[in-house]
């Protein structure tokens, strides 16, 4: 087990190095850098000014040199400076992380706490009106883009309450804080909840047919115990996989949701930085997301072993 974990950690490192190279090269393949953008906006410019600025930002160096500079900095905890704000990238990124992390955690919590129980309910009452209703609602969850759902929620809140939740870095009350984060989290988590529900349902249907479910009933276990204690614990593995994958997808969903709800989180910041070709910000943010995804995958695999005694990672 220990050897397995070490090997996984090494693999994670290799993956991250691969991602860093890909993102670094891709960014520079995209035409135009920040200097081009700035000087295009200014109209006529002196080419020597442009060359000076490029030199100042280090953009004139060969690409491998630039890469090594970045990685070297990363290893020392130096993320470079934002081209746009000229502040250290770390200072720009760090305060935005908790905002997005809260949104993502709430969205995942929402999708698990809604999706799993509804999936169980749907499977247990297979073919009932409740089952059909839940399946239709979940289908809509899969088909509605989160930005559109976000807009609908905003419009509904305006027409119902006369105002909409506006982001406030220092919410005065708990209810305000809840409204600020929960509404966008639901908009982005609806899709994950729908997916989680559908996977839970199909997995439960499979498990409820197993012999050991009949054994549990023959012991005199209650329906609740049969469904949750016996069936769900067996049915949860594919659900965990899906939630793990959704955790990665969530970042994509958050980019639009943060924009729609005007929340100054990491995801929206990434899009802005990309527009300005703010290389240090984009590179480091993508690396951050990559770390989150890789860690999520690792956590899912570890959870597998924790839940199912038949899964043991050998050497």
């Amino acid at each position: 087990m220990f050897a397995y974990i070490v090997r996984r950690l090494v693999l994670m490192l290799v993956t991250l190095i691969g991602i860093s190279i890909i993102i670094f090269v891709l960014l520079r393949v995209v035409p135009g850098n920040i200097v081009d953008i700035l000087f295009d906006a200014a109209g006529f410019v002196d080419p020597t000014d442009k060359a000076n600025l490029e030199k100042e930002l280090g953009l004139n160096l060969p690409i491998y040199q630039q890469y090594l500079n970045w990685i070297g900095g990363l290893l020392h905890g130096d993320l470079g400076y934002s081209y746009v704000s000229e502040k250290p990238a770390l200072q720009e990124i760090l305060p935005r992380i908790p905002i997005t992390a809260r949104l993502a955690a709430l969205a995942l919590l929402f999708s698990a706490s809604i999706g799993i129980p509804l999936g169980v309910l749907s499977a247990v009452h297979q073919g009932s009106r409740l089952d059909y209703t839940l399946r239709v609602v979940s289908l809509s969850g899969l088909s509605l883009p989160s930005f559109w759902l976000g807009l609908l929620i905003l419009m509904a809140s305006v027409s119902l309450f006369g105002h909409m939740p506006i982001y406030n870095p220092n919410p005065a009350t708990w209810t305000e804080a809840f409204a600020i984060y929960a509404v966008p989290a639901m908009a982005v988590g609806f899709r994950s909840a729908a997916l989680t529900m559908r996977i839970t349902r199909s997995s439960m249907l499979e498990i409820l047919r197993q012999d050991y479910i009949r054994t549990a009933r023959a012991k005199g276990a209650s329906e609740a115990s049969v469904n949750y204690r016996h069936a769900l614990k067996n049915a949860i593995l594919p659900v965990i996989t899906v939630i793990g994958i959704e955790a990665a997808f969530l970042i994509g969903g958050l980019i639009v949701t943060e924009t729609v709800f005007n929340i100054p989180g990491v995801a929206r910041f990434l899009v802005e930085a990309l527009r300005w070709r703010d290389y240090p910000i984009v590179q480091n943010l993508v690396m951050l997301i990559a770390v989150v995804v890789v860690v999520a995958n690792f956590t899912v695999d570890m959870l597998y072993a924790a839940i199912d005694p038949r899964i043991r990672y050998g050497d």
């Binding site: 197993q210 050991y212 054994t215 038949r310």
Partner: protein, 337 residues
């Protein structure tokens, strides 16, 4: 129909009817079946696959999946309580407590993500007021009772760490943990190796004697019946076609189907004897339960069938000495070779 209920009777089933509603129509999986089991007695239910043996057992447990199945008639009386009249919560108190069941597939009948010990303590937690320490000790004691070596360690293990025979022992430990009045064993040895089969069977019979449990043994193996049971009922196409004591049934089978079953049992041929004797088989197949013939369901496969067999269903009649058979020609069979 059989003997009247006495103080000793654990289970009394009368005119049980279980039907299934399917797309191809309604079929009677159990049709008017009656039997009773006394304390410490073993009743074998014999028949081919699909004859209604397992559904009979599930009907007694009230575990027939509904939909599509439902018990529509008759009575099931356990120690004086009519089980069909109980509500679901009362029935849960009976299951695992007064009646237990062992299933055919030990490989899949235990929950793969729960420790063996936890699966046994669950029955005790559900039906007995015991602390978790007591239930665990009792679980280990039960594992020892079913002769699992190192029961303390095995209780900590998961089903996949145990062999098939060991898992069936664990199932037996679970089934007997609450000292039920009745144990239903549905083909408990079918999925096991032959050598293990004999051990498990011996264990069940031994524990049944020690604990005084009534036992319903469902099997298609007449060899098993001969070794373990006192009474036998033979089922065919959802109906009871013959009932007798074991000795009587083997000595003097009255129903042509029972005779067919016995003839299709391989006998050990002694060394040097003629070996060209072919094993007899019953011609044809079990009829589809959705499309039963009007008369005796066995008539299409029966070499003795007459016109009356194809027209009218023969009632279950006593053919002498506590021996019942549902065959128009049963009395002739007494004389027949």
């Amino acid at each position: 129909m059989t003997e009247t209920r006495t103080e000793d009777t654990v289970l009394d089933v009368k005119n049980l009817q279980t039907v299934f509603f399917t797309n191809s129509g309604l079929f009677r999986a159990v049709d008017d079946v009656s039997f009773s089991v006394r304390r410490g007695e073993t009743l074998a239910i014999v028949g081919e696959s699909g004859c209604g043996k397992s559904v009979t057992a599930l009907s007694v447990m009230r575990l027939v999946p509904d939909p599509p199945g439902r018990v529509v008639g008759g009575s099931v009386t356990l120690e004086g309580t009519d089980l069909l009249g109980l509500d679901e919560a009362e029935m849960r108190n009976i299951r695992g407590n007064r009646i237990s069941m062992i299933f055919q597939e030990p490989m899949t009948s235990l929950n793969p993500v729960m420790r063996i010990g936890d699966q046994i303590t669950e029955v005790l937690r559900l039906h007995r007021e015991m602390t978790s320490k007591e239930t665990w000790a009792k679980a280990v004691e039960m594992l020892r009772l079913v002769r699992i070596p190192e029961p303390e360690r095995r209780a900590q293990e998961y089903p996949h760490q145990l062999s098939g025979g060991m898992r069936q022992r664990a199932m037996i430990a679970m089934a007997l943990a609450c000292r039920p009045a009745l144990l239903i064993a549905d083909e408990p040895t079918t999925a096991l190796d032959v050598t293990i089969q004999a051990q498990i069977l011996a264990l069940i019979v031994d524990l049944q004697k020690t604990l005084g449990t009534g036992l319903i043994l469902i099997t298609h193996d007449l060899g098993v019946v001969a070794q373990t049971a006192q009474r036998v009922i033979v089922m065919y196409a959802g109906k009871k076609v013959e009932e007798a004591t074991v000795e009587d049934l083997f000595e003097n089978p009255r129903h042509p189907y029972t005779r067919g079953l016995m003839a299709s049992m391989p006998a050990v041929i002694s060394f040097g004897a003629k070996t060209d004797a072919r094993l007899t088989e019953i011609p044809g197949m079990v009829p589809s339960l959705t499309n039963l013939p009007p008369g005796c369901a066995f008539a299409p496969r029966c070499s003795l069938a007459v016109d009356r067999c194809r027209a009218e269903y023969p009632p279950l009649q006593e053919t002498g000495g506590d021996h019942f058979a549902a065959c128009w020609r049963a009395t002739e069979m007494v004389a027949a070779p």
